[in-house]
Symmetry: D2
Subunit: 252 residues, 4 copies
């Protein structure tokens, strides 16, 4: 079995720091790097790409709504044509910065509210895909299995890669339990690590009702915004490796 570990990086802005990028780069195989629209100024993007290249971590364009004040977490009714241009701009900017650092963007992952909206809204999903197709049709897009992005991808000729969440409770249908409900987030490190291994090795997760649900994911999303989160990510990686799962980027 083989799995990728992805996390958000480069989400500082100007004088403000967020997340422990240095520590995360020692854990993950794919870095979703902010492109300036929800976080990440050009200098931070450059340093993040340099660090990712140095550590051999794949760089993904974490494209977002234009919303620094809301960190890209607020859904916006952006017209498809505008959204496509916004995503194209961010993707091109990060790729240029990554290439100047000796690397390149090798996948795209929408951020925050755009991730959620594009997962269920065919118009915004198509707008994101159109941007990727306009820039480089060979770049895969990381998304939720079964999302509107996945359904909209074929005509664009774009590969969609599914991800799963080791620290989130799943519904019997294979969706995520809403964060507003109790038990939505699993905090016990041992449990999260064990779920990761099962997801990677068997493609299964135990849903909130105890049923077994298939998870078709090539990547596990981990977090790094708190010291505890980084330790959890480390525990996930250690458990995967101990179980003989190869931890490797899905794109290069």
């Amino acid at each position: 079995p083989i799995i990728d570990l992805n996390a958000d990086l480069g989400e500082s802005f100007g004088v403000w720091r967020l997340g422990d990028d240095e520590a995360l780069l020692g854990v993950v195989t794919s870095a979703n790097v902010a492109c300036g629209f929800h976080a990440g100024d050009p200098l931070i993007m450059r340093r993040t790409c340099e660090a990712a290249v140095e550590r051999g971590v794949a760089i993904g364009a974490q494209v977002s709504y234009r919303d620094l004040a809301g960190f890209g977490r607020r859904e916006m009714d952006v017209a498809p044509e505008e959204l496509t241009a916004d995503v194209l701009y961010q993707l091109a900017a990060l790729d240029g910065v990554a290439r100047a650092a000796g690397g390149r963007v090798s996948y795209v992952k929408p951020h925050g509210a755009l991730y959620n909206r594009a997962a269920r809204d065919p118009a915004q999903a198509a707008a994101v895909l159109a941007a990727v197709a306009a820039y480089d049709r060979s770049l895969p897009v990381l998304t939720l299995p079964g999302s509107a992005v996945e359904r909209a991808a074929p005509p664009y000729g774009i590969t969609v890669v599914g991800e799963c969440f080791a620290d989130r409770a799943y519904t019997p249908e294979g969706g995520l339990v809403s964060r507003r409900l109790p038990g939505a987030v699993i905090e016990d490190a041992g449990q999260v690590a064990a779920r990761s291994v099962r997801m990677a090795a068997e493609g299964l997760v135990t849903a909130a009702d105890g049923s077994e649900v298939p998870v078709a994911a090539r990547s596990i999303c981990v977090h790094g915004d708190t010291p505890g989160a980084v330790r959890l990510a480390r525990a996930v990686r250690d458990a995967l490796e101990a179980a003989g799962v190869r931890v490797e980027a899905f794109a290069t």
Copy 2:
């Protein structure tokens, strides 16, 4: 003799329009396209690039300070490392957008206050050049002959292209008469056209004191922010062609 005509394009933003891009694209051979930091949102950048490609006009990255409210016209003490990253980001973004439109960025021209500051400040000049070198060393930079950008370019291996201004009065030293002084801007279309021809054909301009000054320019900068400006640009081009000067982009 051969000369290029360059002008600023794509300087609208969101709902706000600026300049008659459509008309200008029928006149110039090089379009300095705004990259989002002083003007130009991604959708406007995309449409501007598409129109330039369609008309066979070369696309230049008009990079700027991050200052939408001031339209990039206010000098800023940006640290070199930050400025390099800002320029790299803009250049890469526009190039990606241009490539999606079937073209590409073929030169760089700093905008407004950055143009003026980089023309005299070796640190900011070097910061701009470092960005271009990091992205694509083969891209020429359009600047004032004799500027700090020109002087700083050799170690970066970057070609500098000089431009002149047909509607501006020159000092006997070959500099521009400050806009704060009377007579700094020449408004008579016939006079501007005649100066253009002389600059292109003989490499000479009559300075404010009547002396003859050499002008080493491969491009003439024209403006398009008013209907009168576009007519003036048209008159310049017509006069150049009537005089047998080839009007052609310096970069492709």
Copy 3:
């Protein structure tokens, strides 16, 4: 009968101009002045307030989502607490600027997507009202009759003032026909003027199906973004005055 005419003003930004504020100030009795979040930088706000004070036009705070790139026309899922703070900030800023110009803000009108969203979403409606109440409970809020803003206002002790649109077709229920449908916007000046008079004098409008619909409005919204729009607004005012309707601000 008495009626107010309101229009959006001060929607330029930096170097970009929008609308003919000078002409509109000679027509309307209430100016919805942009507060910097969708348009209007501080200098434009100041000049707009000075002009409004000079012409005796009432100043309203045209509060918006924080979205310059989208001109506040894109709905955003802003959390109520954030929205309240955003509206309070804009309202206070404009009021201070207006007072420095010898006037003051005398009402509030949400702009664009916030206007539409708050008209149907009780949470965003309440968030806007909470901001007004926190700043000055005596300021009325201009909205669509029957909107969620109107319904949510009583506990805040805030007066809601209804407005109508002389150039928009109405449904038999008294709502506006969607702009996506044909006939939604009435362009004939004579017809628009006649409808205005009837709305002001009789409180009635003929709906798209020919039925008569009551319109409880103390203000008519006019536009000024094109030369034609200003002429139309002028025609409305002339017709109102010719019909003996007093054209007067609802707030002072």
Copy 4:
């Protein structure tokens, strides 16, 4: 003897945190609250004002250049008229937010690069003062003794209040030793505390060359951006109180 302790607060933005405001509010008597141009979104401004009011700490408007990406630390050539409007806007916005929290703005302190530029540039100094005068002539402005702000103030009828820096080395002329020089910042807590007491009680500081320099300051500026900084501020306050100096805001 009596002295005020001031520090920058409310310098978070959106999701990003900066400084330990809670701890600082237990130490200082005046809070320089960011107004949204270099830091501080409306919700953060509101919470900071509420906390300041609750703790009885005076609120000052920490006005800045419009430069979130640079945290207001980059000098900008802003035209006086624009700068006045920018400062007026920020001041009015924060005052409205403070009043909604049961307090009010009781002084103004320019931030970062604007502080430094206005301290030596009469045009920018006058622009800041003009804004304060336009809003409320009774508000004092906190600045460096002997600065251009102090010199430009009389015609505006504005009171200028001098501040000193307990952790900075002074020149024999009473200026600050540049941060680029060694020894510019004093890190030993005991020394900083002792200097504070002497500044407050005797109006004297020992300059870098050993000479005694008069310091005419009604406020001491302390920092809170690191845990060490807060401890240092606490040590300063404790030493002042132990020496019988009354620690009290200069404005209410």
